[in-house]
């Protein structure tokens, strides 16, 4: 079974530029999550999708971050414009258990550096 795929693995941009990350979850997983992990901290949920609907985006800075999950499969996370404090690893995860709290499977992440 293929795992969660993410691209790119690394991205360096200057502040005020835009950037987009892509995620392909495990086949058949209805729930998809985007996390932000700042150095020295644990992952923090940004947004959760159930199929192509948003379940929880309470922690998403909506003035600059946006995410979509077309057709309930792949997802993209966009930052526009980026700030220095957005430097972090962006992790995508998926699960088949929906809202049961069962384990989530993570991709390798995208390391974003904002200069």
């Amino acid at each position: 079974e293929a795992g969660v795929a993410q691209s790119p693995r690394y991205k360096i941009i200057e502040k005020r530029q835009s950037v987009a990350f892509w995620c392909n979850p495990i086949s058949g997983h209805a729930t998809l999550y985007w996390y932000q992990q700042i150095l020295g901290q644990g992952p923090k949920l940004l947004i959760q999708f159930q199929n192509n609907g948003v379940v929880d985006d309470s922690q998403l800075p909506k003035d600059r971050f946006s995410a979509e999950r077309l057709k309930g499969v792949d997802s993209t996370l966009k930052i526009q414009p980026a700030k220095l404090e957005d430097s972090a690893v962006y992790l995508c995860a998926s699960s088949s258990a929906g809202m049961s709290g069962n384990e989530q499977f993570f991709g390798p992440g995208t390391r974003l550096t904002v200069l």
């Binding site: 729930t31 644990g42 929880d56 991709g107 992440g109």
Partner: protein
């Protein structure tokens, strides 16, 4: 507001000995707890979980203990092996309320197992 706390940023253990990683939580609504292991440049991988209806769950060398009254859980690794060297994240979720399925992570503990 850190609802899941891992107060030890690092732990060093000799190969063959027991590793004990600790985690505390503050939200009494949490009823499902997970441990993830993370190697550098990889996403977190699920290790073991425990429901609040249990106080112990065992899987091979890994055992998780839950003390609900103290809002404390611990992960025991016996015997520890050099390949166990990684960052360990404690996570918690609630299967009730408005945050169904959302995982709250601690900051992680870097475990180093030396020969």
């Amino acid at each position: 507001d850190q609802q899941v706390k891992q107060n030890s940023p690092s732990l060093s253990v000799q190969e063959g000995r027991i590793s004990i990683l600790n985690c505390d939580y503050t939200n009494s609504m949490f009823d499902y707890f997970l441990w993830y292991k993370k190697y550098p440049a990889e996403g977190p991988t699920f290790l073991i979980s425990i429901s609040s209806i249990k106080d112990k769950n065992e899987d091979g060398r890994f055992t998780v203990f839950l003390n609900k009254s103290a809002k404390h859980l611990s992960l025991h690794i016996v015997p520890s092996q050099p390949g166990d060297s990684a960052v360990y994240f404690c996570a918690a979720s609630s299967r009730r309320g408005s945050t169904l399925g959302r995982l709250y992570f601690g900051r992680g503990t870097q475990l180093t197992v030396w020969p």
